[in-house]
Symmetry: C2
Subunit: 189 residues, 2 copies
DNA sequence: CTCAACATGTAAAAGGTTACATGATTTT
DNA sequence: AAAATCATGTAACCTTTTACATGTTGAG
């Protein structure tokens, strides 16, 4: 049941509405968890019912009203409790890897196209995470920021997201190059 | 519905029993998907019902009998069809990252301990994947194997698994070091 | 005038985890 | 004698995804 803890962790540093949370989770800006809008609205309702977050109505003139949520003391205690539990290992679970596993039996052209597309997607995330990191650390050097900064949790998870997407990009490019090479080699036979 | 395709992909190069598949998926040796034994037995039953795999009973003296499964032509066609569909992007979803996101609000000692444990786990997988890769390529150089080898799909996915676990290990070690440094810095204040 | 963004949900279906169940053999 | 490995499942529960539903405002 880690979605609720992911939501709590996301709300620690800023008050957000369900819609704003959606943006963070949905677009993968949250580099530690992913969730659909529907899940987030439902989870916020449950969290408020259980007293782990409180919402306050914000009346807006030009936009529909919204509810901003923040973590309560009970919510923080719940996060502390969660942190003390053993974490489950995380596994890769990826459609594209399934397809590459079957590379010797399926059409190479399709695979190359999908690997290329994924590499571009990963590169876009690399750029995004790079910008986010720069914003978070401001004009400080990374080393200095990590040693003395006040809010390093989100920075550390963003670093993991960056490394993950770099790994994705590099592997996709490499795998696509290997498959292209083999296409060329086959023609030469 | 990619579990079924993951099973098909895993059965492409060798005939396996449900139990043997379990070993591959359960322990994370399968670096492209993860699943519980119960899921695999259920999926094999469905796949056989749908004619995508066939099982044959192997009578054993000293061990309980087992059923070995292999992919049928219809199964291969289904994999081909799956490969031609757009792949969904994969996201990180990790308890430990949720905890690190909350690093500024929860106990650092607990986090350091969990990061250290995870780094060791990742290192064990790095070693395992390294051994698997060596076994797959035999005495050939990697470049030569990838260009001319017959079975490179599993090799490519294993490379991704290796890079992923290296990334995990490096990040865990870095994050733990950052948190330790800050503990030291706090004492000096 | 149409499309994107703001804002929040409900309900059904699919997928995944956990607990329960059984029973033989080999290793420690 | 106990624990690990081989071998296969069922059932209940929890989580996630997909489809449906509604209404306003600002930009092109």
């Amino acid at each position: 049941m880690a979605l609720r803890h992911a939501v709590l962790a996301a709300l620690l540093d800023e008050e957000l509405s369900g819609y704003q949370l959606t943006k963070a989770f949905d677009l993968g800006v949250a580099n530690f968890w992913h969730a659909q809008p529907q899940q987030l609205y439902a989870e916020l309702t449950r969290l408020e019912r259980d007293g782990l977050v409180t919402g306050r109505e914000v009346v807006q003139d030009t936009r529909p009203n919204k509810r901003l949520f923040r973590v309560t003391d009970a919510g923080l205690a719940e996060l502390e409790r969660f942190t003390s539990l053993a974490a489950k290992p995380s596994f890769i679970r990826d459609d594209l890897l399934v397809k590459v596993q079957a590379a010797d039996h399926v059409d190479a052209g399709t695979l190359i196209a999908q690997l290329t597309e994924r590499a571009a997607f990963a590169q876009a995330k690399v750029d995004l995470f790079g910008r986010l990191l720069r914003t978070m650390r401001g004009d400080r050097a990374e080393e200095d920021f990590l040693r003395h900064g006040e809010c390093i949790g989100p920075y550390l998870t963003c670093l993991r997201g960056l490394a993950f997407e770099r790994g994705n990009r590099d592997w996709c490019e490499h795998a696509a190059a290997v498959l292209r090479d083999r296409q060329g080699a086959r023609v030469q036979d």
